[in-house]
Symmetry: C2
Subunit: 246 residues, 2 copies
């Protein structure tokens, strides 16, 4: 892990860009991190649109988390931003677009081709980032995961014991295989669902919520489309993480 830039944001949050091998990432730490008390960490998931595109929303989440005493970090997803394209994924995305524009059903094959290789590649990268981040003296546990591609969050929750709570956003296609993995999730979950999400099958999201094996899981459904999560719902999700990571 190499830090490539660092700046203090106006509220004192320290923003550092880094690379982890070929993968770019960003780490935000609260203005005042007493050396004696390393900050708990929240991994900020995001859709595969590139860190540069997502930066305004990410830094907004990072500032809110920092105000609660949390460090946050994110890395570029495979095939996004400056990282090499993934031709199979581009093909799957084109197939998805074609199916949706034609009003045809999105087949399991398309969803699998779109999501499974992404999950298979991304999850070990987030774990490697976690190794590097937790080796920094200013960062400690526990670790939460929040947002982004829900299938990545599910796989991480299953395979990564250092993650102790997760906020998941029921807003994208979930392969059958990941649905089955959801039954093996046992950490506390806070699931956000946009009731009128144009790109998301509501019943599939409810079925997925039902499938999670966690003893503590709660579903928070709000009005509006994919990007319309209300501020108060974000605040409630933040309180969930504060409750479990503090």
């Amino acid at each position: 892990m190499h830090f490539t830039s660092e700046q203090h944001l106006d509220d004192g949050v320290l923003e550092r860009e880094f690379t982890l091998g070929e993968i770019p990432g960003i780490l935000w730490t609260p203005a005042t991190t007493p050396a004696s008390a390393p900050a708990p960490l929240i991994l900020l998931g995001h859709p595969p649109l590139g860190l540069r595109t997502m930066y305004p929303r990410l830094v907004d989440r990072a500032r809110h988390c920092a105000a609660e005493g949390f460090a946050t970090a994110t890395i570029e997803l495979p095939g996004s931003g400056e990282r090499p394209r993934r031709p199979a994924a581009e093909q799957a995305r084109a197939d998805l677009r074609r199916a949706m524009e034609a009003g045809e059903p999105v087949t399991d094959e398309i969803v699998d081709a779109l999501v499974l290789p992404l999950v298979d590649q991304a999850v070990p990268e987030w774990q490697a980032a976690l190794d590097a981040l937790l080796s920094l003296p200013e960062i400690g546990g526990p670790v939460g995961y929040s947002g982004g591609v829900i299938s990545i969050g599910i796989r991480l929750a299953v395979v990564e014991p250092r993650i102790s709570a997760a906020v998941l956003f029921a807003g994208s296609f979930v392969p059958r295989a990941i649905f089955d993995e959801a039954r093996r999730v046992t950490i506390p979950l806070h699931v956000l669902l946009q009731w009128d999400d144009e790109g998301n099958d509501r019943q599939a999201a409810l079925d997925l919520f039902d499938a999670f094996g966690s003893e503590e899981k709660s579903l928070h459904a709000n009005m509006g489309g994919h990007t319309g999560v209300p501020q108060f719902a974000g605040d409630t999700a933040a309180r969930f993480l504060t409750r479990h990571l503090s």
Copy 2:
């Protein structure tokens, strides 16, 4: 409205029992209510088990609300507590029990007989209580409604313009006619659903949530049975009321 008793609880909350005609009720006001700023009011709904039975849970909710600066009040439901039995309702309840014990479907006729006369009688009573409560100098608007028989909450939200936000608990049978009224609800709603509620049809609850006409409505589903609403879910509901009534 006649006050029949008054006591200060240990946290300074003033608890006053009253009668409104033949109907008993309880009013709780915060320890410090500056005369210049009448407290907003939350009507505390409850299941038809009698105020005496429900008192421990009601006073707990009242204390939490008082800590946020809210006055709270509740009245006895028709046919409950010391109030005269309602033979038709008793019959409907017996029919319901028999159907459930026999594993038979609960028919619309049973649900209608159980709930509609209760709603028809209770809602004007809650409105009369509201008239009396809002005439007290220490109580002002805005007014919220929270909990209890969801069909009463729905009807009140439709017919009573002084109620500006409601927390509803999707935990009981809803007649078809009330379901239709739900489409006419427009105030902000915070709907609680116990995912594994043994006495509640989950799909019916989701359909009801979908039907509400409110632009701001959110569904909060948590694990556990009918009475197992977790503390954090109660806290989130309280924040919803604080946000809309402060």
